[in-house]
């Protein structure tokens, strides 16, 4: 391309000078180089030709520069005199040529030509203009710098190598980024949904995908560090009482109904707490099972905290800092089309999404300008909140009532009652979770909020509902735990009696070993409240999932089918009136997701299978809901951006995380574990496993250090220091926010000032132009209007031709070669001379 460039340049130069006179040519200095072979003859034959002759194209082999055992002479002459002859003892590269030009040509021209209108022409291809000799210095530096790139000179090989490595590295980076983006699952699905339904619906799916990722990690932890070691290295099924189905239950242990209820063989497996053995180290790896169980339980919570807080911080960074909202519409207009799109379908999607986003922004803009009738709206809002409170109170009482009833059933024995009575609590909770949000939705239409704020209110209310339900459930669970512990005391006592009966001798309280072999299935068992808790959570999650899917199928799919096919034979238009197609309920689905996650966190300690179950559930949900949204839902009528909602979801998730780990922590810390099941059986408290590990596995000094560290005298000051640090950080962040606001205000006022200044300058320039034009007009002709007035102004034509260029300091942006410039007069600036 460089050659092409010079080719053009030469042609242009030649065209400009083809009509020169003799006088002009007398002022030209001519130069060339030639080389003389001293010690050998090479294959090249040099020929001379007369002025009128030309080199026959078929006979010449090209031109060649000097080198290799020869002498290079460079000389120049002009009309008046001979110029210097220079012996060039190095290879004539671009650099040396320019050096010669700068060192010798310029002084020669200065001595020969008194004025600056002389010209130098050389035998090689660089035309030299007397005016731009100073450019030679610049060119020299440039060529030296890029000598490698030009393919000549010493630095060529190294430079080429560097360039190649750089290119390979950039290509590798680009490929890696592409690969990483391709690895993100469901990206195309979500983009499709986004382009059809807007960003708020898509934000739910993005949230779902994020949860899926987090649950995968949790699953990895529990599966890899808890379930697999026990299954592979622990004692097998049937070898111990806790690992065997009791004799009384063995008849129905394989029934589907029992398995679905997570009893039978499902209960006595790695899925639940009760299966795990309390042996300190198992297998040839000496894997510390109880320690691992405890640490994984703590680790899942710690990891979840870390991930949620980190995502919140990242979202806050992205939204709060550096987000210039002053060019929303312009950016949408000028930068939203993706020029890389080559697929017509994708283009259609993109069109749809651009239209949606235009409409969203217009709606937002209008909302901010809307007037409201304050008092009526306030009254309606208060009324709506009152109704919602009534609903919440009602649902709370209902759950309390149902829980009391189930406790009554439990006391009387569950075998007497049917399926509904046994699962009453679960079903009532699920049904409440399904119907109350719809009720809240209807009530919120009274309030007439901006859709984003209405969404947040809705979320808040459903949150309160679920929270109430969950805590009532936990209270019920606590009652059951206490019941089971009382049962355990009874069983412990019966155990000693039973063992005595085996010996047929006196009861010896101190000895617990038995030498008579007994089948593990026959040993009397404690009620194992931990497994019971795990089972309850698993059942709740399963029933919740089933309810969600059935609601989806009936509420969305069957409804859509009904509306679509019965529309032909129905009295009114089903599609526009009632019931019409359903809209995707973002708030309800998000909250369902969050609360399910809360239950996972609560129950994961007692049922290690819960994260695995959740991963499966989320996977199926993703596909099912993506299909349902595209197939049965219509976009919302009022579209809006869910920009601020991301952190809202995260904040709720954080609150749920905190609230759901509280009961688990309480049970770990205050309730002694069951005596005959689980990895902590035999200890006084579950956290004693840490103490045990410190004593046995770590050196003595470590235990001492730890005991000092857990001394209350040390812990309390530490907590105090943390509180002070939090307070300090909070106040610093407040001052930073204030400083930020100040800077933003300053920028805005500066912008206003600039606008005013520009406007004044524009008016002034226009006035000057008018004056100039008037002066010209008055000078050239007197325009006498028919009624005698001198017309002093001709209104300026519209368009760009007369507008002065906006003063932006330096000149306008460069033009690429070969393209015509914009029409219109330009102010003569001194730097605007040399284009081409």
């Amino acid at each position: 391309m460089l050659t092409l460039f010079y080719h053009r340049k030469h042609l242009q130069w030649g065209h400009e000078r083809q009509n020169w006179t003799m006088e002009q040519w007398k002022k030209v200095a001519w130069s060339d180089e030639s080389h003389f072979l001293l010690d050998h003859v090479d294959d090249w034959v040099c020929v001379c030709h007369l002025p009128a002759e030309e080199m026959a194209a078929g006979c010449t082999m090209g031109r060649r520069q000097a080198g290799r055992g020869s002498v290079m002479l460079w000389a120049m002459f002009c009309w008046e005199t001979l110029g210097p002859g220079i012996y060039v003892d190095v290879t004539l590269t671009h650099t040396t040529y320019l050096k010669i030009a700068a060192d010798h040509v310029h002084p020669f021209m200065c001595t020969v030509c008194k004025n600056s209108s002389c010209l130098g022409v050389s035998g090689s291809l660089i035309p030299a203009d007397a005016e731009s000799f100073r450019c030679f210095r610049e060119s020299q530096e440039f060529v030296e710098k890029y000598e490698g790139a030009l393919g000549k000179g010493k630095g060529r090989k190294l430079y080429a190598y560097k360039v190649m490595m750089m290119k390979k590295w950039m290509k590798f980076q680009r490929d890696f980024e592409n690969f990483r983006t391709a690895c993100i699952p469901w990206e195309m699905k979500i983009k499709e949904i986004e382009s059809h339904f807007g960003s708020s619906v898509a934000s739910y799916f993005i949230f779902l995908r994020w949860m899926y990722g987090m649950n995968m990690i949790l699953f990895g932890l529990t599966f890899g560090l808890v379930m697999v070691p026990e299954a592979l290295m622990g004692r097998p099924y049937g070898s111990m009482p806790r690992k065997t189905v009791p004799r009384s239950e063995q008849a129905g242990a394989m029934d589907f109904a029992v398995l679905w209820d997570f009893g039978g063989y499902a209960q006595y497996s790695v899925l639940f707490y009760g299966y795990y053995n309390n042996q300190r180290a198992i297998g040839w790896l000496k894997f510390r099972m109880p320690l691992s169980y405890f640490l994984v339980g703590v680790g899942t919570v710690a990891y979840s905290y870390m991930v949620v807080i980190r995502t919140m911080a990242r979202n806050a960074n992205r939204d709060g800092g550096g987000d210039d909202t002053s060019f929303n519409f312009s950016w949408k207009m000028f930068t939203s089309w993706d020029y890389l799109i080559g697929n017509p379908e994708t283009a259609d999607n993109k069109f749809a999404s651009i239209t949606t986003s235009f409409k969203e922004s217009i709606v937002e803009e209008q909302e901010s300008h809307k007037d409201e009738n304050i008092h009526l709206t306030r009254f309606l809002r208060v009324l709506a909140n009152f109704l919602v409170l009534c609903c919440l109170a009602g649902s709370g009482y209902l759950i309390y009532f149902v829980v009391r009833r189930s406790q009554k059933f439990a006391l009387e024995g569950l075998e007497n009652y049917g399926w509904w009575e046994r699962n009453e609590v679960n079903m009532v909770m699920s049904l409440l979770g399904m119907f109350c949000p719809m009720l809240f939705d209807v009530i919120s239409s009274l309030e007439n909020y901006h859709p984003r704020i209405a969404l947040q209110w809705q979320l808040g209310r459903i949150f309160a509902l679920f929270l109430g339900n969950l805590y009532t459930f936990i209270i019920a669970l606590m009652d059951e735990i206490n019941l089971k512990r009382r049962e355990e005391e009874v069983v412990k006592y019966n155990m000693t009696v039973w063992q005595a009966s085996l010996y047929n001798g006196t009861v010896d309280d101190n000895s617990t070993t038995s030498t008579i072999p007994v089948d593990p299935a026959d040993v009397p068992r404690g009620p194992c409240w931990e497994t019971m808790v795990g089972q309850e959570f698993v059942r709740l999650i399963v029933s919740d999932t089933m309810t969600t899917y059935i609601t989806l199928l009936i509420g969305d799919f069957l409804r859509a089918v009904f509306v679509r096919f019965f529309n032909y034979c129905w009295c009114w238009d089903l599609e526009y009136g009632f019931p019409s197609y359903s809209e995707f309920d973002v708030s309800g689905n998000v909250l369902g997701l969050i609360f399910n996650q809360g239950m996972i966190w609560m129950g994961a300690f007692y049922a290690p299978c819960l994260p695995a179950l959740n991963v499966l559930r989320l996977h199926v949900s993703m596909y099912l809901q993506c299909w349902a949204v595209m197939c049965c839902n219509v976009p919302q009528e009022r579209v809006f951006k869910a920009s601020g909602s991301n952190n809202f979801y995260m904040a709720m998730l954080l609150v749920i995380l905190f609230l759901s780990t509280l009961p688990a922590i309480y049970t770990i810390v205050s309730i002694p574990p069951s005596f005959d099941c689980g990895p902590f059986s035999g200890k006084k408290r579950m956290y004693d496993v840490i103490q045990e590990t410190l004593e046995n596995d770590f050196p003595l000094w470590f235990g001492k250090v730890f005991s000092y560290a857990s001394n209350p005298g040390l812990v309390l000051p530490f907590i105090l220091v943390m509180i002070l640090a939090i307070y300090y950080l909070q106040s610093t962040s407040k001052t930073y926010k204030a400083a930020n606001m100040d800077l933003k205000k300053k920028l805005q006022t500066q912008n206003e000032e600039n606008k005013k200044k520009n406007k004044r300058a524009a008016l002034k320039a226009e006035a000057e132009l008018e004056e100039a034009r008037n002066a010209v007009m008055d000078g050239e002709r007197n325009y006498i209007h028919p009624n005698g007035q001198l017309l002093s102004r001709i209104p300026p034509p519209c368009g760009s031709a007369d507008r002065p260029p906006a003063p932006r300091g330096s000149e306008m942006a460069g033009y690429l070669p070969g393209n015509p410039r914009q029409p219109g007069p330009r102010r003569q600036r001194s730097t605007n001379s040399h284009r081409y």
Binding site: S330, Y339, G818, H834
Partner: protein, 178 residues
């Protein structure tokens, strides 16, 4: 200013060779022996990279150097096009060309008519995706309010560049790669 204040092209050698290959595929058979063939706009628009682009006709017009303004491109025009849209082109070059592409009536500024045509291009060809006239008016008013600094009712090149320079995804979306 010296010769080297702007690069000739932002393309690498590989890219230029590939462009030449794709270009010669588009050249009509009878023009194959022509030293600098000119491909009509209809053929250029069959390229998959340009086929779905709503601004394809404007792009051809902007980069075309034909006197008859028919949007036909020589190989050098084609290279100029690819160079301006390439990854390594600077923000100034891209914003300059973006301005010329959006300037539908070629008068050097973006006035209401240009902005309207721009919005219609972006919202697709079919009628049900177009904006209503009120929405259009509202949108254009908002845009002029944001970008028109000297309040003359049009957006000129410097105002356009001022807006674009703040945008985080202009450079990455204004890209065409063969």
């Amino acid at each position: 200013k010296s010769f080297y204040d702007c690069e000739l092209t932002f393309l690498t050698k590989q890219e230029i060779l590939l462009a030449h290959k794709r270009f010669t595929e588009l050249v009509a058979k009878e023009d194959r022996n022509d030293p600098s063939p000119r491909v009509p706009m209809s053929k250029i628009l069959t390229l998959p990279e340009l086929k779905s682009n709503p601004f394809r006709k404007r792009i051809c017009h902007v980069f075309s150097t034909s006197e008859s303004k028919d949007g036909s491109l020589t190989f050098e025009d084609f290279l100029d096009l690819l160079s301006a849209f390439s990854d390594s082109a600077t923000l100034e070059i891209k914003s300059h060309y973006a301005f010329r592409i959006f300037d539908f009536d070629d008068d050097g500024t973006l006035d209401r008519g240009d902005l309207e045509k721009l919005v219609n291009c972006l919202t697709g060809e079919t009628d049900d995706t177009r904006l209503t006239p009120e929405e259009m008016k509202q949108l254009i008013n908002n845009i002029l309010e944001e970008s028109d600094i000297d309040k003359d009712g049009t957006v000129n090149l410097s105002e356009f560049q001022h807006v674009i320079s703040r945008s985080p995804d202009f450079v990455s979306s204004f890209k065409i790669v063969l």
